[in-house]
Symmetry: C2
């Protein structure tokens, strides 16, 4: 210790450790620390509405679910947590949602070259270091857009709820739901989510507007506002918009047709309630996680449709999860092209690079394997009999794709089950992102060029 | 009608119709006609063991299941059909199994160039016409191999069962089970399949030897017999052998570990019965369809493992179904390579062509979509509540992948449900094959070369 004193030495050491970590490792650690801080805050007596503090595992579950904008809950958010605790959850959601959106956009910038004029300009600044001015600027842009969307929604919802709840309470509820919706978190203070407002146009349109926008992602939102012309949009935005629209419509038609046969849901609803809830349930499955009809009362066929919609999820560079609409689109396109005899895989007069297709393949196969593994583990740890298998499949998909819908298994989980779901939420949220980041950075060239050989498929 | 008389005219017309059909269409029509003939024969009073003939729908179901070597049954084969009827089923299985094996090998020849010396020699003859001498030769080879395998098994099983059943009955049972096993049909005359022989080494080894060999396929069998040297095997055979072995072992370990916790199955078995049945259930799920323990008594976690094994299935150019071991291997390999930063996808020092990977992608995405659709349809038509969802998922996968295992739903199907399963068995068996054939024949070159554009994935 001749040249440095102890403080400098530690500082130097920390720096060298951080610089040795890969960006995905760094991201993982940052979010892990955020979850630990969130857990500690939620365990404070002041966070709890009752006489007892929330247990460590339940607080950890809530914090992970909030940071990962998942929305699965082991305890009722409205009843268990005080206003302070709910405020903490709100902040965790905002940090998580903005953090993931920003990360998604950074990866987009690193990966893509023609995503948009604005993005192209910041490329040089953002690819080099973690603290360049370009990155700060980007974060500010994203935060601004989120703030504008959320602020408008808070005004609308406060006005809507003022008469019933009073100004203060209406404002708090409006803030909580706006943040929860734009970030596709799906956390709710009311126990029945938004079932009370099943055919309320103001609540439906505001909440759906928020989570659909958040799900489309920053790049698409910015492009729509700047270009206002379909032809000028980038391939990414076109694919996101077309597949999101198609999924929304397909989901609505299927849920509407199937639930029309269900005396427990649509059987008790008016025409207007059916139409609103059909759209809402179709949209919410793709990562938002609110609901206006009881998921458990739905037909198993509708639940199967919800599982598919959750698995697909929202779009890259947004606040939603799942394998992403673009992945789904690219896979279907590649399949159709192969069926028609192969050749160039293209959409909207642009060729999709073969690397992109391989990435989509890797994402879907690893996601399927992961959901399968989680479902298998939960079946074992929760001692699930075949009668409850669908709940497990639903839960595993929901946890992985950050959808946050549940058929009721979450609140009945054993401690081991809770731990599995916590890890699933974490990996489900960070996995695809860090995978994409890893792929964007690393580019392995194989040294050996092997001779080709045929393998029979199918 | 100056030049031709009517008969010639009709003949000429038929010829021109046949020549206009694509090979996949022709295959579909031939198998459709075979199913109709089988149905008619099974509806004869003499085919039934009872006073009434089998109904049209049940006969159609049985004929389709037999021709498609599936093994799902709506009526008990041993109790409903007379010895004559069982003989018809046996013949249908043999025709179906050999037919599909031959088709698979022809596609292999058309697709592959370096699959084996023998195959390379017949290429020119088989690619041109449907009736060349090369094709006939190939069919004879395949029939010979099947006959040798089955004849040996018939001798072994007749000897094993002679004391209990008498020579005549033992021979009939041995013939039925040998044909059913080599062709991966899974049809059984005994109601409890092979549960009676749960730890009988002779029955276990003979039946498993037959269906595993049949599942490996003609090319692999021939290569093993001719080359007897791992290094000399083609890439296809290496991948088939490695992935079949790995799946067999993984399936055994999982089923053994999981069922050890089950008082209804392993809880009632001796050590030797557990070991034998662990291997048997792992092997049978990959398209054979026999069982030595009751599938319905197994834990839902084991049933989930069986669903995965059934979906993967056996190998191309064999008598089994599913997406095929090679498809599974190629997809996992492509995923791992992409995770590690991309580059050439290779195995055993050979590059896997990108076309092959696209074909694997197309097979898995279309198969997943199809099974999902069938499960959704059955959930609706059978009015399935969530408690019975696993049975539906199991049934849909089993029907698609020609596994033929059932948790019991088959015998409870409505008429519409039966029709759905019939169509699923047909498409599940013919779909991947004709897809492969169509791809082998057709080679579309796109005229337009679009510019590449980036899309975000994951
Ligand atoms: K969510
Ligand atoms: K079978």
């Amino acid at each position: 210790m001749t040249k440095y004193d102890k403080k400098d030495y530690l500082k130097f050491n920390m720096k060298s450790i951080v610089s040795k970590l890969s960006p995905p490792q760094l991201i993982m650690i940052v979010f892990f620390i955020l979850i630990i801080i969130g857990t500690a805050l939620l365990m404070l007596p002041v966070s709890s509405s009752g006489p007892h503090s929330v247990t460590f595992l339940d607080a950890l579950f809530t914090a992970t679910s909030a940071i990962c904008v998942n929305g699965l809950v082991v305890v009722d958010t409205g009843l268990t947590y005080s206003t302070f605790g709910q405020g903490i959850i709100m902040i965790l959601i905002q940090i998580g949602g903005l953090g993931f959106m920003t990360l998604g956009v950074i990866i987009a910038i690193v990966l893509g070259k023609r995503i948009g004029l604005k993005q192209r300009l910041i490329i040089q600044q953002t690819t080099h270091s973690n603290s360049s001015s370009g990155l700060v600027k980007l974060c500010l842009y994203i935060a601004c857009i989120a703030f504008v969307f959320e602020a408008v929604a808070v005004c609308v919802l406060t006005t809507r709820w003022m008469a019933e709840l009073g100004l203060k309470d209406a404002f708090f509820h409006a803030s909580f739901y706006s943040i929860s919706a734009f970030n596709n978190a799906g956390f709710s203070i009311w126990s029945d989510s938004l079932s009370e407002f099943i055919d309320d146009p103001v609540v439906n349109l505001t909440i759906m507007g928020l989570f659909i926008s958040g799900g489309l992602g920053y790049i698409v939102i910015v492009e729509i506002f700047r270009k206002r012309n379909w032809k000028k949009l980038t391939l990414h935005s076109k694919i996101v918009l077309v597949s999101s629209g198609a999924l929304l419509l397909t989901g609505f038609l299927l849920i509407y047709a199937l639930e029309s046969m269900n005396p427990d849901t649509f059987g008790q609803l008016t025409w207007s309630e059916r139409l609103w809830s059909g759209w809402f349930q179709s949209a919410t499955a793709r990562s938002a996680g609110f609901n206006t009809i009881d998921i458990n009362s739905m037909l198993s066929s509708s639940q199967l449709v919800l599982i598919l919609l959750m698995f697909i999820g929202a779009s890259s560079g947004g606040t939603g999860g799942g394998i992403k609409t673009t992945t789904f689109f690219v896979l279907l396109l590649a399949t159709f092209t192969t069926f028609r005899g192969g050749g160039q895989i293209h959409a909207f007069e642009r060729k999709i690079p073969s690397e992109t297709i391989m990435r989509a393949l890797a994402v879907v196969i690893s996601s399927l394997s992961f959901v399968f593994l989680v479902a298998l583990l939960l079946t074992v740890t929760e001692g699930i009999h075949e009668e409850h298998f669908m709940e497990v499949l639903f839960e595993a998909t929901s946890a992985f794709s950050t959808a946050g819908l549940s058929m009721g298994l979450t609140s009945e989980l054993s401690s081991v089950g809770k731990c599995i779901v916590i890890v699933t939420m974490f990996i489900g949220r960070l996995g695809p992102l860090t995978l994409a980041y890893a792929l964007a950075k690393k580019k392995r060239k194989s040294k050996l060029g092997y001779a080709e050989d045929q393998v029979l498929i199918g």
